[in-house]
């Protein structure tokens, strides 16, 4: 994970995305309310927020699909409003709903995009084959996308965004609706792209995803940035480390409270469900990384059982990773 030093010097590193004071209104709804985003070359910005926070609107403004009402936006140093055509030559966009043609094959989808990037027939065809191979879709290359799984569709869609080797890649909720295994696969692919030097802006509802992929995270709500920092910084902002105990029966609460009180300098809080206690940790300057009773997560169970190509069971996992308007009591789980 990248540290504060890289983030602290936007002047030092070239900004591949620089948006300031961006406002966009739809009728009475203020979708973006003075949003600022800065992404240095070669880094990953995670834009985190609940549904309706303005994530997709922000991506649409940055990718020239929507004109902002106010504010300035440059991508790769090019002003989005003045030269939208030049911006489109250096970006790739993979949307929330995989924008692939169901009735075309994976190969035809990519070839069409290559033609529209004006690669020419030969180069476009070669590029399409190469991308299909890279995304492990060679076997399915000549089947209509209609027959693909959700994860395969997303991979074709992402491959479409990479046809012209973009400098800046926009990924709008790239793993929403995918099962854990496909999600992990997408993460690997994105990680590789970043290692190869691509600048990425990624929106997500999942804290875990931002945690894994992003150097830097902004949390937005109602079109405004409400927090900004690395994953660790954000976690600290939420109120420092706490230890949480869940006991089997409400009758055990007094004894547990007593035990927890001895290790915590602060108050021990009981949660509403009557079986959960939490208290601040202060181990005298020692940074506690973790203290937990570890059991396999549902995701571990799922991955171990299915091994490959799992289709269901994502919702329970996702719910835990959802980030809302979390107060200090709410743990941001890893």
């Amino acid at each position: 994970m990248t540290t504060v030093t890289e983030r602290a010097g936007p002047a030092a590193a070239e900004l591949m995305i620089d948006a300031s004071g961006v406002t966009k209104r739809y009728g009475d709804v203020l979708a973006l309310d003075g949003l600022d985003l800065q992404v240095p070359r070669g880094s990953v910005l995670g834009v985190l927020g609940p549904n309706g926070a303005g994530k997709t609107t922000a991506v649409r403004v940055l990718t020239t699909l929507l004109e902002p009402d106010a504010g300035s936006v440059t991508v790769a140093g090019i002003d989005v409003r003045t030269y939208p055509g030049r911006v489109r030559e250096v970006i790739g966009l993979s949307g929330q709903y995989a924008a692939v043609d169901e009735y075309l094959t994976g190969y035809e989808n990519l070839d069409t995009i290559g033609r529209l990037y004006h690669l020419g027939r030969r180069r476009s065809q070669r590029r399409a084959r190469a991308l299909l191979e890279r995304f492990v879709l060679t076997d399915a290359a000549d089947r209509p996308v209609k027959t693909y799984s959700g994860g395969m569709r997303r991979r074709v869609d992402l491959a479409g965004a990479l046809v012209a080797e973009p400098q800046v890649l926009f990924l709008d909720e790239p793993t929403t609706g995918l099962d854990p295994r496909s999600r992990a696969g997408m993460w690997d692919v994105i990680r590789e792209l970043v290692d190869a030097g691509t600048t990425v802006l990624l929106t997500t509802q999942y804290l875990e995803e931002a945690d894994r992929l992003a150097d830097d995270i902004v949390v937005i709500d109602r079109g405004r940035t409400i927090a900004h920092g690395t994953a660790d910084e954000l976690k600290r902002q939420v109120g420092g480390d706490r230890v949480e105990l869940v006991v089997a029966s409400a009758a055990d609460i007094p004894a547990a409270r007593d035990a927890l009180g001895r290790v915590s300098p602060g108050d021990v809080t009981a949660e509403d469900d009557g079986r959960r206690l939490s208290a601040a940790v202060d181990a005298g300057g020692v940074r506690v990384l973790d203290a937990a009773l570890r059991r396999p997560t549902l995701e571990d169970v799922f991955m171990a059982l299915t091994g490959h190509g799992a289709q269901t069971g994502t919702d329970t996992v996702d719910a835990a990773a959802l980030v809302g308007v979390g107060g200090p009591a709410r743990e941001m789980s890893l």
Binding site: R88, L104, T112
Partner: protein, 211 residues
């Protein structure tokens, strides 16, 4: 390449994509090709006898109308295609590419010319089977078909525009049907203008009003 050259290349890339899609959807193709045959047969043999023209000349009269009706209904395919692209994010993908903005619509309407040409061919064959025929010179016949294709092309643009406005292809199909279906009946397609009742007969230009 010049800007115009690029726009044409982009338009043909989009057209090629649309045509490939049509070949993958034989159900759609069959439906659109069978409907005109059905209309020719139904009107020629069911209503043919009840119309105040001889059965043979009514069939001749009818086939021209069915040609027109079919290409007008064919434009619904254009509009529905545009609406579908809007809904599933394809237009967003296109708009994020450095392609000519116009290509989404020029490509769409161009692929539908191919589509319309195909359905006109099928109809002409059906027409020949029920007694319709070309009675003029080949040049005049070609001009007639050319005009028909041009009319179809113009209508494709109208429906492409409507496709940009509606939320889904289903809405477009239903709305188009409500407008087009009665229009084809009050036009002098199935029934000659002179034979339409009162106001209907007077409402169209080129038809002499009987009082």
């Amino acid at each position: 390449m010049t800007a115009v050259g690029l726009a044409l290349a982009d338009g043909s890339a989009v057209a090629r994509r649309n045509l490939t899609k049509i070949t993958r959807l034989p159900e759609l193709l069959v439906g659109t090709l069978v409907t005109p045959i059905m209309m020719v047969v139904m009107f020629a043999y069911v209503f043919g006898g009840a119309v105040a023209m001889s059965a043979t000349s009514y069939r001749e009269f009818l086939v021209a109308g069915i040609f027109t009706q079919t290409v007008v209904f064919g434009s619904v395919v254009t509009g529905a295609g545009v609406a579908e692209d809007m809904r599933n994010g394809a237009i967003d993908r296109f708009r994020s590419l450095p392609m000519a903005r116009s290509a989404v619509l020029t490509g769409r309407t161009a692929s539908d010319v191919v589509y319309n040409a195909l359905s006109i061919t099928v109809m002409a064959l059906a027409g020949l089977a029920v007694g319709w025929g070309v009675r003029t010179s080949a040049l005049e016949a070609a001009a007639g078909f050319g005009l028909l294709l041009l009319f179809a092309y113009a209508f494709s643009w109208v429906m492409a525009y409507v496709g940009l406005l509606v939320p889904s292809p289903e809405v477009l199909s239903n709305a188009a049907f409500i407008v087009i279906f009665p229009l084809t009946f009050v036009a002098n397609m199935f029934v000659r203008g002179e034979d339409l009742p009162g106001r209907c007969g007077c409402s169209r230009s080129g038809t002499r009003c009987r009082r």
